[in-house]
């Protein structure tokens, strides 16, 4: 709790305690959270520091789909669900990802490693079907290719754990 207060405090003082900074603050708080979300405590703290109501902060936070008010996994796998990707085989990619991760679209794995989300166009339709894992876009994807990307991430996490 203390730690969270300090982290939020640092972010707010860096970005400025104005209302115009609210969205940037929410995104930064989310980025700083190990569970990639904006918690209730964080909302309270932001409201306090910006001298505004919690409902105002919630109202902004809940409007934007890239801001999560629920804990998420360490890696966020975003599957594009718009028409060009849909037609290029998004359903097969979805099934492969759901099977590999053992979760459905919109869920987070029990070990909090992965969240799987359906998102709007990633601006990568010249290589549909596309997914984005954290900041990286993967295009011209096959179901096998999607599984490979997930396995590489799992492998990397395992190695991190050992070392």
């Amino acid at each position: 709790m203390e730690k969270l207060r300090k982290a939020v405090g640092d972010i707010v003082s860096e970005l400025g305690p104005e209302k115009g900074s609210l969205l940037a603050i929410l995104l930064a708080v989310q980025d700083a959270s190990p569970e990639s979300y904006v918690s209730e405590e964080a909302v309270n703290e932001i409201a306090r520091l910006l001298n505004t109501s919690r409902s105002m902060v919630y109202s902004t936070a809940s409007f934007y789909s890239e801001i999560s008010l629920m804990p998420r996994g360490r890696h966020i796998v975003r599957l594009c669900i718009n028409a060009p990707c849909e037609d290029a085989g998004k359903e097969e990619i979805r099934k492969a990802l759901e099977k590999e991760l053992g979760i459905k679209l919109g869920e987070t794995t029990q070990d909090k490693m992965f969240s799987l989300e359906g998102v709007s166009c990633l601006g990568a339709c010249f290589m549909s079907p596309a997914i984005k894992v954290d900041d990286k876009v993967y295009g011209d994807l096959t179901p096998a290719g999607a599984v490979r990307v997930m396995r590489e991430l799992k492998e990397a996490a395992k190695n991190e754990h050992i070392s």
Partner: protein, 432 residues
Amino acid sequence: MSTFRELDGYDRVFNFGNCDSSVSLSEYQQTGGYEALRMAIGNPKQALEEICRAGLRGRGGAAFPAGLKLKMMQGNTEKQRYIVCNADEGEPGTFKDRFIMNHIPFQLLEGLTIAAILAGAENGFVYIRHEYPLAQENIKRSIAEAEAAGLLGDNILGSEFSLHLKIFSGAGSYLCGEETALLSSIEGKKGRPRVKPPFPIEKGLWGKPTLINNVETLANIPAIIAKGSAWYRTLGTEDSPGTKLISLSGDVKKRGLYEVPFGTTFREIIENFGGGMKEVFDLKAVNIGGASGVVVPPEELDCPMEYGKCAERGITIGSGAVYVMDEQRSILGNVHNRVHFFLHESCGKCTPCREGLRQVNRIIDRVTAGEASLKDIENLERFTRCMQEASFCGLGQAAGNSLLSSLKYFREEYENSCVDCVEKTSERGELC
């Protein structure tokens, strides 16, 4: 990314180079970059005249004359003004602004700086969607480099002009691309549209006059000033001078981003730039302008990409997304997908859009499941017309428009799925 493709043999506004990386400041300057800024600082009046004479129109979708918007800014006496670059690029099927930001950031920054000087704005934002972290980084770095080189910040190139730019990240709302919703978003509120008028040029960010332009619009400005409006008008047509960046996707051989002179037909875009159809299947339909654009059959493709001619045919060039569907594709599937998109992105502020989309979704679900009747299709048409005419902002209006185009050209596909279709066609004496 080597996906930027172009045809040889004509002049261009954009020079993405052949590289996979971002054109650096020194590379940009070696090829004439920042000459236009010098010229604009030396003679702002002439720079504005060139933009007006060039006939540059907004590339964000609404095609408003860019020079006129600048002149309107100049007509305002308020001292505190802003410039905002709209880099929210949310229209499904569009990736042009991403290419500009990732590959030619200085061309955008130079155009932005010139526009700011002409508009009298000393502060500004580049509103970039959250889905583009690399573009955010590249523009941030480029702003810092331009500042260090005296091309941004205080007293640009030693002149009395200054411009302070900040990046503002969106957070996954398509609606925030709408200019007034975007302003609310920067102000820390929900990204909901505001009543127009007042337009942003009158009362924009924090109530101050604000110039909002799309990335591609601004990136056109350096070439117009450096090479002149007469040169610019040699590209494109009398009605629509210059070129348009086309994001080509779907069932063509070569998907990618192309710089296409206005006046080129959509068929030429698909055949000459896209290399024709990818497989043996015939072309069934083309979706022009993204989710909010129209779906047209092959017969419409000989229409030149030109604002006037397209408007006559009910085609919206919009962001320049061209999505090609072969005969394996389902129009209903495509429409279904788009309705879901709009349902997700609608802010729910007005009834025609909020309730209209719900009703439309319900009907399309039934059509897809083969449970709808022809009466449902008539209702669908009524609802979409109502959305088109009565929605508060461009989202609902465009959603209605795009659905209507599919009904206009592909009604059979809807009707063939209806339970009472046979009766209807037997009246007409034909088979489904």
